[in-house]
């Protein structure tokens, strides 16, 4: 009965009455399509921001891992210098009359090692500054900055005042397009070259190329000893028409349609200490001295020359023998000491006519660290000198003049890995 009614009613419809429904369906489909497209755009937008944070954090941690590897090599070198100099010191002391020379050689070794330590500390400060700079660089590079490059027409107009490119000869156009592509023409005046540079590249390119994301006045140059703040933050803004914060010098990025703000947080230096194997070696010091002792005749009346004259020197060596670099709590200072990068991407609302799509601010944060892995031998990678043998055994061989034609240090134990530990 009901079915019949329906067919009866349908039979009463006039032609064209379906159109309003079709329009409604079309609008709905269009809206859904727009939402899908814009959600897709938003997805890309968020992915860019997330990638930027990850890339920045990893770049920062990689810089630190390279520093730690370098400092491990330095540590080995210091240990090698110490071992070789210790032979000289002990041999000089064994003659008894050479004790002043032995003390002088010990002082020279101590000075040399502390100066190397100082340089490593200064490099460590630079490493953290450099890590922050790398993090900023990689974050900006991966933030999906889509600033339009000035067009060839804009380039000709702004640099050369040419308003009608069609009037140019093919060879002239070829010349200008080459300059536009290269972004420079050394044959031109300084002001013209600056204009070429400005109108052939985006402000963003020049922002990156000149490392303007690194505020040298506020955070210092990247050089040994300079400490950058724990938190550094840099921002770049641009409009769809090419106007940008780099060329306008406008730090108020809210006035631009788009902006990317990168904030990097991390430590300022590594707390290095001195590896002191004196205590480790002190048990054998007396044996080594007795092995080479050469007492001058005029001390023949002394009951125990070693105890009286050499023990104080050995005590000095045993209490402080600067033989490399180390970090007291390596896990705390590497694994638990990450570089954290926060990327904020702002895009003004997009008016698509039918629907004003809201982007707003999208933020992502990533932390990455560098860590010393534990190898198959159960040894945690470290910056401490890594001799292939026990240090006392090794020194005994060196002291006896054994030919040490094999490698001294296992440098692979200074390798540090890098990984992202958190993302938000």
């Amino acid at each position: 009965m009901t079915m019949f009614k329906i067919f009866r009613h349908k039979g009463r419809y006039n032609r064209g009455q379906l159109f309003p429904y079709l329009i409604a369906i079309l609008v709905a489909v269009l809206a859904i399509a727009m939402i899908t497209v814009n959600l897709g755009q938003l997805g890309i937008f968020k992915t860019d921001v997330s990638n930027a944070a990850d890339a920045g954090a990893l770049a920062g941690a990689s810089t630190l891992s390279a520093y730690l590897l370098g400092i491990g090599f330095q540590s080995d070198k210091m240990c090698g210098v110490m071992l070789v100099e210790l032979v000289v010191i002990i041999l000089a002391a064994c003659t008894v009359i050479g004790i002043p020379v032995a003390i002088a050689a010990y002082i020279a070794l101590t000075i040399k090692q502390y100066v190397t330590y100082f340089q490593a500390m200064e490099d460590g400060k630079m490493a953290w500054s450099n890590a922050k700079k790398s993090a900023l660089q990689y974050a900006f590079q991966n933030a999906g900055i889509d600033e339009p490059r000035p067009t060839f027409k804009q380039f000709l107009s702004n640099v050369y005042g040419i308003s009608d490119p069609d009037a140019l000869s093919p060879s002239t156009i070829a010349y200008y397009s080459q300059v536009y592509a290269l972004g420079d023409d050394p044959s031109q005046s300084k002001s013209r070259r600056q204009a070429i540079k400005k109108y052939s590249q985006t402000g963003y390119s020049r922002f990156m190329e000149g490392s303007w994301y690194w505020d040298e006045d506020a955070w210092g140059k990247i050089r040994p000893g300079n400490i950058a703040p724990a938190i550094v933050s840099s921002v770049y803004g641009w409009n769809a028409d090419g106007e940008n914060s780099f060329d306008t010098g406008n730090n108020n990025t809210a006035s631009f349609e788009n902006s990317v703000k990168v904030t990097v947080m991390g430590n300022i230096m590594y707390p290095l200490t001195m590896y002191n194997p004196g205590e480790e070696l002190s048990e054998n010091l007396l044996d080594w001295v007795n092995e080479k002792l050469d007492v001058p005749w005029w001390l023949g009346w002394v009951d125990n020359v070693v105890e009286w004259l050499l023990a104080p020197v050995l005590d000095m060596i045993g209490s402080l023998l600067p033989g490399g670099l180390m970090m007291e709590d390596i896990v705390q200072n590497t694994d638990n000491n990450p570089v954290t990068v926060t990327v904020q991407r702002r895009k003004q609302n997009n008016n698509l006519g039918l629907w004003r799509f809201r982007y707003g601010i999208v933020q992502s944060q990533a932390s990455a660290h560098t860590y010393g892995e534990i190898d198959a031998d159960g040894i945690r990678h470290d910056i401490k000198p890594m001799l292939f043998e026990n240090i006392a055994t090794f020194f005994s061989k060196l002291f006896s003049g054994d030919s040490l034609d094999y490698r001294w240090f296992n440098t692979s134990k200074h390798l540090f890995e890098t990984e992202i530990i958190t993302t938000r």
Partner: protein, 285 residues
């Protein structure tokens, strides 16, 4: 009457002199210590350790070592010396005898060497409440701890100047590094100026200068310690911690060659000037 008085006075003086003589003899380093017959004096040296003078002599004797020991035991026994040490060293076979009478301490070391006997004697004075030299902490001011007064064996490093005046106290090749050490009466800043001025004459380019005070400061700050932990082994010298802090390291390069100059105050006494260690190395060597 007058003659009588003079005679009595003379007798008193003679008696007092005779009574005092044996005691004064054992309080005097001029005590004449005999040596076994046929012994030959090879060398003698006067040492100054603390405030004490020690006279040492080296003899060579044809007498068997056991007979030499008997000779001394007999001599000191007859002269009322107390034997305070009698020790034989297993490794060298050396016999060390030490005798004391009043303040005079005499040590005799007898060792058989290649069929002959080597005898070393040492005499010093030790008052009743004084410590023996071996019980006294050695001092940098002791004569046994003086730097060489003329260049030791070896050579200077070619192309690396040395301050004038200076004495080469060490020359060594350790691994791939050539090093030489000099003492000079010039102070640290004069030596720094010398190298900065003269290294370019030898085609060295200045690469950098670091004062160890900065390094020490950085270490103490990072480690939370109030010193580097340097322990002076001998008494009487400068504070080693301060010696290190007052030092400078200069670095120079010339192509693949590099030179490092370490300059620090003389730790025996700053008044004696400074000590310089120069090192040379070549990359890829």
């Amino acid at each position: 009457m007058r003659f009588k008085f003079r005679f009595i006075f003379g007798l008193i003086i003679l008696t007092v002199s005779l009574l005092v003589y044996p005691a004064s003899a054992e309080n005097d380093l001029n005590f004449d210590l005999p040596v076994p017959a046929g012994s030959r004096l090879l060398d003698s040296k006067q040492l100054n350790i603390g405030d004490r003078q020690i006279d040492t002599s080296l003899f060579n004797s044809q007498m068997p070592s056991a007979s030499a020991v008997e000779f001394y035991l007999d001599f000191f026994g007859r002269n009322d010396f107390e034997k305070i040490l009698d020790k034989t060293y297993a490794d060298s076979g050396k016999r060390l005898l030490r005798f004391k009478k009043d303040s005079l301490v005499i040590t005799v070391s007898i060792t058989e060497k290649g069929g002959d006997t080597e005898i070393v004697t040492a005499k010093y004075l030790q008052g009743p409440n004084e410590l023996s030299p071996e019980e006294t902490r050695p001092s940098l001011k002791d004569s046994i701890f003086s730097f060489p007064e003329s260049d030791v064996e070896g050579s200077d490093i070619p192309g690396l100047p040395r301050p004038s005046p200076s004495v080469r106290v060490m020359s060594v090749k350790t691994g791939k590094i050539l090093s030489a050490m000099y003492t000079t009466p010039l102070d640290v800043s004069s030596v720094v100026d010398f190298y900065r001025a003269h290294m370019p004459d030898h085609n060295w380019q200045f690469r950098g200068e670091i004062g160890a005070a900065d390094a020490a400061q950085a270490y103490m700050k990072a480690s939370g310690k109030d010193s580097l932990g340097l322990k002076s082994p001998l008494s009487g010298g400068e504070d080693l911690e301060q010696v290190v802090k007052d030092s400078y390291v200069l670095n120079f390069a010339s192509g693949s060659e590099s030179a490092e100059i370490i300059i620090f105050p003389n730790f025996s006494s700053r008044k004696l000037g400074s000590i310089v260690q120069v090192s040379y190395s070549q990359q890829g060597q």
